[in-house]
Symmetry: C2
Subunit: 330 residues, 2 copies
């Protein structure tokens, strides 16, 4: 069982793996992503993953056998575990609780070499649908307050397996960065009676200089103050507080794939992190928060200044990044 | 001139280098730290750096010539520039200001191959003294609210030059992470009428399991909820809100060097980031904040989950990290 611990000064929670602590020697040889050779996520190797939680099987094949087009399985080395109670306790000035949560892997395709940019559009749609199904299911567990869906593409971005996959972690706490966005968005709403994201979208469409892609329902933007080069946001154009949209799934899949292709083309298939920010379960529908997808190509790494200040130095203005991506021939 | 831009949702400021934007192709070939060959920080090459701001020259030699034991020069590629006014302006929903500030480099030794762990103790003392002198000088500039001193040791930790050096950045804004610590520390003080750091130190000394080193005036701790493996804090044992101590500089140099040697030994000279957190200029002396040095060996990298949540997953419990460091034969 891992532990959730709260730093008494910053208020920040961290997940500490108390059960299999990494010793100094474990860091000496960096793990490299498996390339070639055996892959547990490939079709035919279903028995080597934990039992599947969800699968799309258009041919009606049996669970944990080939025939699937998308599969969701528990993470074999979970950061948090489903079993147990929160058990919040204090130790003098310190606070901790059991590391309960869920940690799942969404294998978006049985094909080893496809990515969200290169797979058929239907598979991207299915991935989004699977995220939605899993979030809806995990919401029923009253211990959980939030589900973070994310993707690490490429070894430098943290992927430990090469085969395309996303992950989700259900948490007993609303993550700090989501809380912060909500707090500021609420504050803005109190003042203006409008959603801050809706206002940003309005202004960005008017100026156009940071718009990367657009379709009927969604827009891709380079944010005004990005933390790192080529950081990218995808948002629904109309106000919507929680992922996932009522309909128009194909339009979301379309703009997501298009955006990733623009990134791939402009930056020569960079490693990247992608994640979904949505309203927490306790306030799923509201007027102030607006769900979105964040994509961050991993081009720079944070150093002492960023670590110590929370300030980021970004060497690429978003106006230029947007231009490069708009002009990418995809 | 770079720009400081504020993200309207998170409230986070970023520094955008608008004048020499990095194009996609600049990221394709990663810059590697210069190894061997010419070094601008070595003795004899003083003319290749910007004009020195401060130098310790025990032999009375002239500025910008050999003979120094420590040198402070402006960063040749500064993130922020000293010239100009803040010029805060709005652009619809967005806020920005000119990237004013100071960005300096502290070259702690003329010898190319020494580090804070291996240099004579006197040089470590001098480095701390130079930090203090520069902070005191920059404080006179009323545009600045904070000076962050930091060190990136090793290429993986962000050092672009191999020769030992630290950096400082003077900012027109108190950094977010320092603001957060201060806010929580004030809140705690309002409630308890005690400094939260003093209380932590008291509890840690009593339990002992996360104490790494100690001398008469300072203590090195593995924090209860560290964001990454082997994260380490050095604090004055008695309440002190701002760097730098009245006296006992040798005791601070001693524990700093000892701690870095323990890290070097336990982790085989890892890359690391180091930084100083101190009270901002506007509230230099107070009862609630307690200055400290943070050291973070760069063993893991952040991925989508950390980026999206602000949560950190740490595979090494601090109790184990502290034990490894205590037992390191230095």
């Amino acid at each position: 069982m891992s532990e959730l611990r709260k730093d008494p000064v910053s208020g920040r929670w961290v997940i500490i793996s108390v059960e299999r602590g990494k010793r100094p020697s474990d860091f000496a040889v960096r793990a490299h992503a498996k390339k070639g050779g055996f892959c547990a996520f490939c079709s035919g190797n279903e028995h080597t993953t934990p039992t599947e939680i969800l699968a799309f099987r258009p041919d009606g094949s049996k669970p944990n056998t080939p025939g699937w087009t998308l599969r969701v399985v528990p993470n074999k080395f979970p950061a948090l575990r489903v079993e147990g109670e929160e058990n919040r306790v204090g130790d003098g000035i310190f606070d901790k609780m059991n590391g309960i949560g869920a940690h799942e892997v969404i294998i978006e395709s049985p094909a080893h070499n496809l990515t969200l940019s290169t797979m058929p559009l239907k598979s991207v749609e299915d991935a989004l649908l699977a995220f939605h199904y899993r979030i809806s299911d995990l919401k029923k567990d009253k211990r959980f307050k939030y589900v973070l869906v994310f993707k690490n593409e490429g070894e430098v971005a943290g992927a430990s397996l090469e085969h395309t996959h996303s992950q989700l972690i259900a948490l007993p706490i609303v993550p700090r960065l989501v809380e912060e966005e909500i707090e500021h968005a609420k504050h803005y709403y109190d003042y203006k009676e409008r959603c801050i994201y809706c206002d940003i979208i309005h202004q960005e469409i008017k100026s156009g200089e940071r718009v990367i892609s657009e379709n009927q329902d969604y827009i891709t933007l380079a944010p005004f103050a990005p933390r790192s080069p080529f950081e990218t946001l995808i948002l629904p154009k109309r106000h919507e507080s929680s992922f996932m949209p009522d309909g128009k799934l194909n339009l979301l899949a379309q703009i997501l794939q298009r955006t990733l292709r623009q990134i791939d083309k402009a930056l020569d298939r960079p490693p990247y992190n992608m994640l979904i920010h949505t309203s927490p379960f306790r306030e799923e529908t509201n007027e102030y928060y607006h769900w979105h997808i964040e994509i961050k190509p991993k081009l720079t790494s944070t150093a002492g200044f960023e670590w110590g200040s929370g300030f980021y130095i970004n060497p690429t203005p978003p106006e230029e990044a947007a231009k490069f991506m708009r002009e990418a021939k995809i």
